[in-house]
């Protein structure tokens, strides 16, 4: 694998290696995220789920993907 074409990002607090020029849409597809049940934040900013295709992830970006779980 060619390391030059890879970047490191933080996804839900974990370091993850992904391809350069990967869009947020690509990312959620790779990780099989059920889009209708989550919200996505890029560097602390909430992202409109309709615009995932247009956003290219950069090195060291912090992506958070959250869902509802049981709670009081």
């Amino acid at each position: 694998m060619n390391k030059k074409n890879k970047i490191k990002i933080k996804l839900n607090g974990k370091t993850v290696e992904i391809s350069k020029n990967c869009s947020l849409k690509n990312l959620v597809t790779i990780f099989k995220i059920p889009l209708n049940k989550v919200a996505i934040e890029l560097n602390m900013e909430i992202i409109d789920k309709k615009k995932l295709n247009n956003i290219i992830i950069k090195s060291a970006d912090r992506v958070e993907i959250v869902q509802f779980i049981g709670g009081g």
């Binding site: 996804l11 839900n12 607090g13 974990k14 993850v16 990780f31 099989k32 995220i33 059920p34 209708n36 049940k37 989550v38 919200a39 996505i40 934040e41 602390m44 909430i46 789920k49 958070e64 993907i65 959250v66 869902q67 509802f68 779980i69 049981g70 709670g71 009081g72």
Partner: protein
């Protein structure tokens, strides 16, 4: 009909149930069904990215049938709480939310300064905010002035099961506000729920008392019935208390 009205929405059940602490999501879903609750609180947490295909809460409890009330449980600052609820709104358009900003890890008492600040911000952003708060009438008034959709004082610390500790304060808050008043934490048994309703509260929010009972389904039903009984008792116009007796049978015709 006697309905619970919150932010212009009507609910038949006055029991709100939390979805935490259950052994399985299946058990949680069944307890909620038995409780008759139409609103459940949910938390916002990270997706498990190593296996995002695992079943989610939404697969067991359909948000189209039961209203999800996103909660900021576990937030210790206004910023964290705001971030959580903005994300919650993004998941599915939820505007009705429960705000909970904690101030002390041991007692889990709310930080009312941060809570008030967050209420002001969220209200400006168009949220309908149900606010977890201390049983302090002055703070409750300030939350109301800040635009809260419901006042949710604790009966006792979260998960403590102690029941209502400050009956007088709850009565004063009831007396001063027309907003929905919902006892949020510290309920331990059905009589605590009934007492809350008899004090004139509009509803009760229960999680631990049901989820951690040895028989959660039996307790879910007990809480459902207690809330109904307490509400009817409140509406019935109870008799005056009297230190002397008053015979139930007529004197006429006594032998």
């Amino acid at each position: 009909m006697d309905k619970l009205k919150i932010a212009k929405k009507n609910f038949s059940s006055r029991l709100i149930v939390g979805t935490g602490k259950y052994t399985t999501m299946k058990e949680c879903a069944k307890a909620i069904k038995i409780s008759g609750a139409e609103i459940v609180t949910v938390a916002v947490r990270r997706v498990n990215i190593l296996d995002a295909t695992k079943p989610l809460l939404m697969d067991f409890i359909d948000p189209k049938k039961i209203m999800y009330l996103p909660n900021t449980a576990g937030c210790f600052s206004s910023n964290d709480a705001l971030r959580t609820l903005r994300l919650a709104r993004e998941i599915g358009g939820w505007k009705l939310v429960k705000l909970e900003v904690l101030g002390d890890k041991k007692s889990l008492f709310p930080d009312m300064i941060e809570t008030l600040k967050s209420t002001e911000t969220l209200t400006k952003e168009g949220f309908d905010v149900m606010v977890y708060c201390n049983d302090d009438p002055l703070m409750a008034k300030r939350l109301e002035n800040a635009g809260a959709a419901a006042i949710m004082p604790l009966a006792a610390p979260i998960g403590s099961g102690l029941g209502i500790q400050n009956v007088v304060n709850i009565k004063i808050i009831r007396n001063q506000t027309k907003l929905p008043l919902i006892i949020d934490a510290g309920i331990g048994q059905a009589s605590d729920a009934a007492q809350s309703m008899e004090l004139g509260c509009d509803g009760v929010l229960i999680n631990t008392a049901i989820a951690k009972a040895k028989k959660p389904f039996v307790m879910a039903e007990a809480m459902k019935l207690a809330v109904i009984a307490g509400r009817k008792s409140y509406l019935s116009g109870r008799i005056k208390k009297n230190i002397f007796g008053s015979a139930s049978s007529p004197k006429l015709g006594i032998i």
